[in-house]
Each structure stands twice: as structure tokens, then as C-alpha cells.
């Protein structure tokens, strides 16, 4: 009897919730439409892409993928390798340097600590464009222009204040008792960092790694400014050339390469999805 009542009540809840589900499905379709348009467009000939709203291609052509991959010399294999090398090194740099800096700010008392922390926070608000020319000048004098060095070496010097702030906030939530226990066991600051703080920082480190990867992988301006030779180009720079205001318009190839360029970010997101949620929850990142 109770079961029957429960089933009837369940059914009535289901019947009441279908308009809500229908509404949500429509919302999802609206949100996913640009992605479907991009995916469908990548299989269409150039002349059909902008003249049709229907994302479904009338016939499937793989030529956009093949031609786009080889559209310029040396080709997208090299551009993907370049992008992944830069993004990978930036991740290592940020994870190592930002965690060490954050540890210093969160745990040590030193002269001008508050002022330095304030200066670091202010640097978050500085627009990147304001620093572009002075940075370029310095890197040129160092002979780093047209190398990957300006794109990842600064990460090893803890220049991403956002991630330092993120980790400082996280370390402050860790009980100091752990540090004190380690000290009693004879650990110095370096050992405490390596054996206690760094392992406990894992959610924040993963958040840092993921966001550094995505932001560096998608970065267009600095890669355009510092890399000049065709062999050193990266995916965003190469893709921007596929549709050009000076006349050429390979929209099909652009869409095909856009689909492929999403793969690394998508894989990173899939692999670390659980950790992103955990990291967001534990670091207060919004």
C-alpha cells in the first residue's frame, strides 16, 4: 500500500517535472548550438558554412581537416607540439614557484611581508598590455625574442600572482599544528614544505595546473609577439591566420582546426574534472 502510494506520488512528481526538463533541454540546445554549428561546419564546404544556419552538413567532407592540418608550413603537428611544450613548461613553473612563494607568504614572518603581499595583489590588476613593451624590451636585450623562453621562464619566478593568492588562502586553512609537529620531529622549513604542505596543497595545485594549462594554451597575444618564425608558431596564432581580413577565408579549415584544438583542453578537463570541483570547493575560487 505504502509502495503503491509512493509509486503514484513518484509518477505525479515525474509528470510535474517534465515541463521543467523540456525547458532545460531547450536551454541546453541553445547553449550547445554554437558548438554543433562549429562541428557541423568543419565538415561542410566553404560556400555552405555562412549561408546555412542548419549545423547538419548535407554531405560530410574531411577535406577541411586534411587541408587545414597542412595549410601552412610546417603544419599543425608542429603547432600542437609547440603549444603543448609551452603550456606544459608553464604548468611546471607555476606549480613549483607559486606554491613555494605562497608557502613563504602564508607561514613566514619577514620584513615588508604585508607590503610585498599587497604589491603582489596589485599586480593582478595590472593589464598585461601595459607591461607588454617593457617586457619585450627586456627579453630582446636578453636575446630571448623568438624563443619559447619569455613564455615560460617567468612562470618559474612566480609571476602569476593569482595562483599565489589562491595557494596562500589554501595554506592558511591548514593547521599550524602540523608544521609544529614536524618541527618537533626535526624538520626544517624546506622539509615541512616538501613533506607536509606540498602534498596537502594537492587540490590547489591541480586547480593551478589546469587553469595555467588552459590559459597558456589559449594565449594568443604573447605567443604572437614573441614567436616570429613559422616553425615556432603555436595553435592559436596559426588558427588566427586561417581567416584573414586581407582576403583569404578558409572558414572550413578554421572550424576543423578549432575542433581539434579543443581536444587537449577537453582531455585535461575530463581527466581532472573531479579535482577541479574539489579545488574550487576547498580554495574558495569562484
Amino acid at each position: 500500500m505504502v509502495n503503491l502510494a509512493h509509486r503514484i506520488s513518484g509518477r505525479s512528481t515525474e509528470s510535474r517535472s517534465w515541463p521543467r526538463h523540456l525547458f532545460l533541454i531547450v536551454c541546453v540546445l541553445v547553449m550547445i548550438y554554437p558548438l554543433l554549428w562549429m562541428l557541423g561546419g568543419s565538415f561542410k564546404p566553404n560556400t555552405d558554412i555562412l549561408s546555412q544556419l542548419n549545423p547538419w552538413p548535407s554531405s560530410f567532407h574531411l577535406s577541411n581537416y586534411i587541408d587545414g592540418w597542412k595549410s601552412s608550413t610546417p603544419g599543425f603537428t608542429r603547432y600542437f607540439v609547440n603549444s603543448l611544450i609551452i603550456a606544459g613548461l608553464a604548468v611546471v613553473g607555476n606549480v613549483v614557484a607559486c606554491s613555494m612563494t605562497a608557502y613563504a607568504f602564508a607561514r613566514f614572518q619577514f620584513r615588508f611581508r604585508r607590503i610585498l603581499f599587497g604589491v603582489m595583489l596589485v599586480s593582478i590588476m595590472l593589464p598585461a598590455h601595459a607591461l607588454l613593451i617593457p617586457q619585450y624590451f627586456v627579453y630582446f636585450k636578453l636575446g630571448w625574442v623568438n624563443t619559447f623562453l619569455p613564455l615560460f621562464v617567468p612562470k618559474f619566478l612566480a609571476t602569476d600572482a593569482f595562483f599565489i593568492f589562491l595557494m596562500v588562502q589554501f595554506i592558511r586553512t591548514l593547521p599550524r599544528d602540523l608544521d609544529e609537529s614536524a618541527e618537533i620531529d626535526g624538520c626544517g622549513p624546506v622539509r615541512i614544505f616538501l613533506s607536509i604542505i606540498f602534498p596537502l596543497l594537492r587540490p590547489a595545485l591541480i586547480t593551478t595546473a589546469i587553469f595555467t594549462f588552459i590559459w597558456t594554451y589559449n594565449d594568443f597575444l604573447s605567443q604572437l609577439i614573441y614567436l616570429s618564425y613559422p616553425g615556432s608558431q603555436t595553435v592559436p596564432v596559426a588558427m588566427s591566420g586561417l581567416v584573414d581580413s586581407s582576403g583569404g577565408a578558409a572558414y572550413g579549415q578554421l572550424l576543423a582546426m578549432s575542433v581539434l584544438s579543443l581536444v587537449p583542453t577537453f582531455v585535461v578537463f575530463l581527466v581532472s574534472q573531479r579535482h577541479i570541483v574539489q579545488g574550487v570547493a576547498t580554495t574558495g575560487l569562484r
Binding site: N46, T47, I49, L50, S51, S71, S72, T73, V81, N82, I85, L132, I133, Y136, F137, F140, G143, W144, V145, N146, T147, F148, L149, F220, L221, L224, I225, S228, Y229, P230, G231, S232, V237, A238, S240, G241, L242, V243, D244, S245, S246, G247, G248, A249, A250, Y251
Partner: protein, 410 residues
């Protein structure tokens, strides 16, 4: 480690001569082939080639100049030439003319547009011409013939006719009311010009009022696309324009954007014709300009060698044979002689129009002032204010003239 991975980590400082260009991958690849050919035929001068997409090209160039690392030879559009020349970032080419650089094969009007204050800074590479593009397939179906002796009144009547013939969702043409270049073409057809001595506007409030009133009437009659449609695309953006989206039959097109851009995106056959005249028998306002020029940076350790390269790339049949029509027809007659062989239909149309347009044209204007791009943006904003009803036409005209003159320092 990176070198071991085959990744270039060589500093640009180790290369003495660098040439830089912009464009889509096809153009960049072809220009790279031209540079390789030069290096092969000139073993004593080795140019290192850097090609970038057009978007942010000038941001990169500005950073390189400011950071003390400009390329030796730069492919630049004429719009930026004056700005760089007056900031003494470019080296004049005058001392090489008649020696390393031969200018006799360039048409006088084209060469003049590579000059600032009568000093030659840029040698034209290709020719760009403003034209009125149209969907020939559609017009043939409607049995409409485009007559290049049309006036602005004929043009407006034809556009309204097209709107009525094709239904309420189809319009005759783009809304060119906010396009500074189309306004210039209109002014020139009526005997006017944009700037006087690059210091003040050379047109009256009446002329500007007439232009915006013309397009206001077009919008009301359905002759041109409505304001909301016009706001969705950028002028000269071959992807978003109303002809490609099949919302209109006419749109202005520059010749370098025709073959690789507009025509490649449309199944219909597109054609180019001259813009309307002020009255029957008068001249049209379109003119030829260099699609780009080759300039030399002031911070250049090997200026003589750079001059040899500039002359070769702009002025040799070997270069013409490689570059062909990627930026419109070659500007130099000598280089043009190298563009033999078969042409696509779209390329043939560009050549046909490039030869046709100057026949009934007026001489080109002097180089625009450095604030031209700011005035251009102001013009677009003001025209959109009118088309969306945010400003009354008369007030908008006065406001525009006042602000533009302030930008010009008048």
C-alpha cells in the same frame, strides 16, 4: 633541451636582415616562396622571412619598434605609412631611386601613395581598387543588367526595385552610410575630398548631411539592409557581409578581397563594377591604391642590401611570377609581366576590373592623416547613432564635424 626537440630557440638577434609580412596562410606561404627565391638568386644577401596573420600584425610591429627590434624590411599598408614615417621609424627610399630601386615601371599615382611629404618611403607591391561587388547569378535570373554609367539616383532606384522583386527579407545593398571609404568615393564623384592638407575636413556639413540622408531614405525604402543587420557585420569583412549571407545583391569590395575572399565563399558568380556617378557623364570616385607597400626600417644595419630586396620583390618578373594576384595585380609593370599562365575566373575578374576602373577615374587623394582611423571609427559610430535613432541627423552631422576637426587639431 628545446633545440634537441627540434624546437627553434635561436634568437632573432643573430639574423641580420629580416623581412616581415601579413596575410592568410596561402599568401604568407607564397610570400615565403618569393623570399626563398630571392635568397637563392642573391646568395650574398640572405633575408629571413617572418609571416603573421593580419589580426594584431600592427600590434606586433608596434611592439617590435618600441622594443628596439624592428624588422629590416616591412610589408605595410599605406594607412600606417605616414604614422611610421613621421615618427622617423622608416628610412626614406629616395637615395636608392634610379640606382638600386627603379620606379619607372610604377604608375605615378600609385607611387605617390608610397610618399609622405614628397619623400618616398614605400614601394607599392600590389594594386587595390574600390569596387561595387554584385551577385551576377541573381541579377541574371532577374534579368537586371548593371550599367557602369549609373548615377547615385539610378543606384537607389535599382536597390528599391530589387527589394520589391525579392521580397521583404531581401534588400538591394549593404548600408554603406557608416563606411568612410564609400563616403570618400561619393565625395570624390561629387568633386570633393575628405581632407584638406591632412589638417582639416574638406567637405561641408551639407555634403555629409546629403550622404546620411541618402542612406536614411534607402533604409526606409528597403533599398539597403536595416540598421540591426548592418550592425552585425564589419565593412570589408568578406564573411559577414550581406552578399555572402544572401541578404542583398550589392556590397562594396576591394579587389584583393575578391578572389580569395568573397568569391570563394559564394556559390553564385560575383562581379565587380565601378561605383555610381554624381550625374551622367561625370567621373566616378574610386581610385587605385597600393594594397601594401614595402618599407625599410630606420634601425637597419644593411640598408643597401634591403633596398636590393625591396626592388626585387616589388619590381621583378621573377617576383611577379610567384606573387601573381595574391594582393591584387602587381603594381609594377615589370613585375606584372611575370604573372603569365592561366588565371582563375575570379582572378580574371580582378584584372578586368583593375583595368576598367581607372578609365573614368579622378586622380587619387594625398595620403590620409595619422588620425584617419580614429575619424573612420567616429564616422561609423555617428552613422549608427542616426540609423538606430539615437541622434537626429542634423545634430549628428554637426557633432561629427566638430569632433573630427578636434582630432585633426583644427
Amino acid at each position: 633541451m628545446l633545440t634537441g626537440c627540434g624546437i627553434p630557440v635561436v634568437s632573432a638577434a643573430s639574423v641580420s636582415l629580416r623581412v616581415t609580412s601579413y596575410g592568410d596562410p596561402v599568401k604568407l606561404k607564397i610570400r615565403g616562396e618569393a623570399v626563398a627565391k630571392f635568397n637563392h638568386t642573391h646568395p650574398k644577401i640572405q633575408m629571413s622571412y617572418e609571416g603573421y596573420p593580419s589580426s594584431n600584425y600592427f600590434d606586433k610591429l608596434a611592439t617590435q619598434f618600441s622594443g628596439g627590434n624592428p624588422p629590416s624590411v616591412i610589408n605595410m599598408d599605406p594607412v600606417h605609412l605616414q604614422q611610421y614615417a613621421r615618427s622617423k621609424a622608416l628610412h626614406p627610399l629616395e637615395e636608392y631611386v634610379g640606382k638600386t630601386i627603379q620606379t619607372s615601371s610604377f604608375e605615378h599615382n600609385l607611387l605617390a601613395q608610397g610618399k609622405d611629404r614628397n619623400t618616398l618611403y614605400g614601394l607599392p607591391v600590389g594594386v587595390s581598387t574600390y569596387g561595387v561587388g554584385y551577385d551576377k547569378t541573381l541579377l541574371d535570373r532577374l534579368k537586371i543588367h548593371v550599367d557602369p554609367t549609373w548615377t547615385y539616383t539610378d543606384f537607389a532606384n535599382l536597390m528599391v526595385h530589387l527589394h520589391k522583386a525579392q521580397g521583404p527579407k531581401f534588400y538591394g545593398t549593404e548600408d554603406a552610410s557608416g563606411d568612410w571609404a564609400s563616403f570618400e568615393v561619393y565625395l570624390r564623384a561629387h568633386g570633393g575630398m575628405l581632407y584638406r592638407d591632412a589638417k582639416q575636413l574638406a567637405f561641408s556639413v551639407t555634403e555629409l548631411g546629403d550622404w546620411w540622408r541618402y542612406w536614411e531614405k534607402m533604409r526606409k525604402s528597403g533599398g539597403c539592409v536595416p540598421a540591426d543587420v548592418a550592425a552585425e557585420y564589419t565593412y570589408d569583412d568578406n564573411s559577414g557581409g550581406p552578399v555572402i549571407k544572401k541578404l542583398a545583391a550589392f556590397e562594396h569590395i576591394y579587389t584583393p578581397n575578391f578572389a580569395g575572399g568573397y568569391q570563394s565563399l559564394s556559390k553564385d558568380t560575383l562581379r565587380l563594377t565601378t561605383p555610381p556617378l554624381a550625374r551622367a557623364g561625370s567621373k566616378h570616385g574610386a581610385y587605385q591604391s597600393p594594397s601594401s607597400v614595402m618599407v625599410m626600417s630606420q634601425r637597419n644595419s644593411a640598408k643597401d642590401k634591403s633596398a636590393v630586396f625591396i626592388d626585387w620583390i616589388c619590381n621583378s618578373p621573377q617576383s611577379g611570377a610567384i606573387l601573381r594576384f595574391i594582393s591584387g595585380p602587381m603594381a609594377s609593370a615589370t613585375a606584372l609581366s611575370g604573372t603569365k599562365g592561366s588565371m582563375s575566373t575570379a582572378e580574371a575578374e580582378v584584372v578586368r576590373y583593375t583595368n576598367l576602373a581607372p578609365r573614368n577615374a579622378i586622380a587619387p587623394p594625398p595620403l590620409a592623416p595619422a588620425v584617419d582611423s580614429q575619424i573612420n571609427s567616429l564616422f561609423l559610430r555617428t552613422s549608427q547613432d542616426i540609423s538606430f535613432g539615437h541622434q537626429k541627423l542634423a545634430a549628428a552631422v554637426k557633432g561629427f564635424v566638430k569632433q573630427a576637426n578636434a582630432l585633426l587639431g583644427g
